[in-house]
């Protein structure tokens, strides 16, 4: 790749963490399948990732060996199931360097995790004795950005409607970066919470958060990072990043669907009123009223997705085994390769950063004026699976003046040959619609 010699004693090119991609691919049974007569080329991991055998085995073993409800039984199976469930919580906590497993709330997905925070605000706003950090009313402000997934827009719009607070947002630059030029105006003494995507699911942009964190601290607001696209692809350390909440979703990180995470600083979770009421989340219940369990159980009403949580634990074991630094580096190389390769396709326009810096392995583009649906359909006939549409981030499409985009996204099992197949497929698309 390069001929420049790095002086001895400095980090060498060969020093980057790496792994055997072919060996990793062998762990994912689905990658052997054919689609429409072609080998599967799966470029839609930002949508949902595949699951390695190691995770599927744990899921199966859970049901075949220690299936029982959690936290409700004294019997052996119940105890083992509870240990597995709580063990997964501890693994997830370690994975993001959370100070305590009690800061990890299991949810259904990122969407539910964000809604828990939004509804905690809502519920607190109705109670004069609630923690003032969670009380919202007219004059207060909530800040998001133009590059959010709908999951990080709609809950805040609804919250602002309910409370009379005002929703504001960071714009996006022409290069697909967060426009922080208005930071001090946007985040001010009226701001109660800033909820920001860490890595955009459509532009691929990885937002630098430190200036925003600093400003949020200055004005005494709270910071939530939507890490749905970052936790699966890069090391996350909540102490280092120093947000107040992060959310992520298991199905994008080798775990099953139906399990997600809300991480919150212990002291904040403890100050939050409950959202869903029901079994498990209580301390004591009388007909005249109830008191609530401490976090995380306070936010886990009802029987949780037990096997899914256990499988998420297995997924973080798997990812840690490969190494998050190595995965991040692998995807960086793929992204650089793909940006170069896509630049050779006539008429192709990339939305978002076109250099492999401050971005992840998710690339959205337009091919001339061929509609993304048609692009996706022809690629599918060649076995290449990409996502087309507005990617649940319609404001981004509006920002760039298109109704839809085509998106290719990579993961630890993606190869450069698959990117070649994409580029060859795009040639075919151009032929059909010439």
């Amino acid at each position: 790749m390069t001929t420049i010699a790095i002086p001895p004693g400095m980090p060498q090119y060969g020093d980057v963490p790496s792994y055997d991609v072919a060996a990793v691919r062998a762990d994912f049974p689905i990658l052997d399948r054919k689609v429409n007569g072609h080998p599967l080329v799966y470029l839609d991991s930002a949508n949902t990732s595949h699951k390695p055998r190691q995770v599927l085995d744990v899921l199966r073993e859970h049901y075949e060996w220690r299936n029982a409800n959690v936290s409700r039984s004294v019997h052996t199976l119940g105890t083992e199931a509870t240990e597995a469930y709580e063990g997964a919580r501890a693994k997830v906590a370690a994975f993001i360097n959370a100070p305590s497993p009690d800061e990890v709330v299991f949810t259904k997905n990122s969407t539910e995790a964000i809604n828990i925070v939004a509804y905690a605000f809502s519920n607190a706003s109705l109670r004069p004795d609630a923690d003032p950090r969670f009380r919202l009313g007219p004059g207060d402000e909530v800040v998001i950005s133009e590059m959010e997934h709908h999951s990080n827009i709609v809950p805040w719009q609804l919250l602002c409607e309910r409370t009379g607070a005002t929703l504001r947002w960071f714009p996006v630059t022409d290069h697909g970066r967060l426009d922080e030029s208005g930071l001090t105006d946007l985040v001010n003494e009226r701001t109660k919470i800033v909820s920001l995507v860490h890595m955009s699911n459509i532009l691929g942009t990885v937002n630098a958060t430190s200036r925003i964190t600093q400003r949020v601290r200055e004005v005494g607001a709270l910071l939530l990072l939507d890490c749905s696209q970052s936790v699966p692809h890069m090391p996350m350390d909540v102490v280092d990043y120093d947000p107040d909440f992060i959310v992520f979703t298991g199905h994008k990180m080798c775990a099953p669907s139906g399990i997600g995470v809300l991480w919150g600083r212990a002291e904040l979770l403890a100050a939050m009123p409950p959202v869903l009421g029901g079994g498990s989340m209580i301390e004591t219940v009388a007909m005249s009223g109830s008191t609530f369990a401490p976090p995380p159980t306070r936010f886990e009403a009802g029987t949780p997705p037990i096997a899914e949580a256990v499988a998420l634990g297995a997924a973080v074991d798997y990812l840690s085994g490969v190494g998050m630094r190595a995965i991040q580096w692998h995807e960086k190389q793929l992204t650089a390769y793909a940006l170069d390769a896509l630049a050779t396709v006539p008429g192709l326009r990339i939305f978002g950063p076109n250099v492999p810096v401050g971005r992840g392995g998710t690339i959205s583009f337009a091919l001339g004026d061929i509609h993304p649906h048609d692009v996706g359909q022809v690629l599918d006939s060649l076995g290449v699976q990409v996502r087309v549409g507005h990617h649940c981030a319609r404001p981004v499409c509006t920002r760039f003046g298109v109704p839809a985009m085509t998106r290719a996204s990579f993961y630890l099992y993606t190869t450069t040959e698959e990117i070649d197949a994409l580029v060859a497929g795009l040639e075919q698309v151009r032929k059909v619609f010439a």
């Binding site: 649906h373 507005h390 109704p403 839809a404």
Partner: protein, 158 residues
């Protein structure tokens, strides 16, 4: 599955050279005119269909929109098949097209009734694309109802 089945020449031709595209005013000032705008929220396809009618005959079916080849070609075929037709006939064609698209590829289309619409038989095998093909037809139905046409097919034929 072969992508050629989906992208028949006829469909690509209607897409590249659409017939009767553009929203038009009615020639007859006495005509009842109404339109409907439909979107496909999963992909952002959009179409507006306008119907000009005296209640018995659809003097014009005009449209405008943005979207994939399937939805836009379908609007072109809609115009070609329905503009100028008696309302009852038009709704028989409408019913036949909806039946074809709902048939998962099991319905054999009647070319007498559907004309170039038969090219969409292959689309019916792609559930994700059926909505694209139906988008203008659903907008048409709404527009016709708003223009005061009785939208039940009375003389089913073909």
């Amino acid at each position: 599955m072969q992508v050629d089945q989906l992208y028949q020449e006829i469909i690509l031709d209607h897409y590249k050279h659409p017939h009767g595209r553009g929203l038009r005013d009615a020639d007859d000032p006495a005509a009842s005119v109404a339109e409907a705008h439909h979107v496909n929220p999963t992909c952002g396809d959009e179409v507006t269909v306008r119907v000009a009618t005296d209640g018995a005959v659809l003097h014009d079916v005009s449209y405008d929109g943005y979207g994939c080849s399937i939805s836009q070609a379908s609007a072109s075929v809609l115009h070609e098949l329905l503009a100028g037709r008696p309302a009852a006939e038009a709704f028989a064609v409408h019913a036949a097209f909806v039946e074809l698209m709902s048939g998962r590829g099991e319905v054999t289309p009647d070319e007498e009734v559907l004309g170039d619409g038969v090219a969409f038989a292959g689309v019916a095998r792609y559930p994700a694309r059926v909505k694209c093909a139906l988008l203008p037809w659903m907008a048409f139905k709404d527009a016709a109802a708003r223009a005061g046409v009785d939208t039940s097919p009375t003389e089913v034929q073909g």
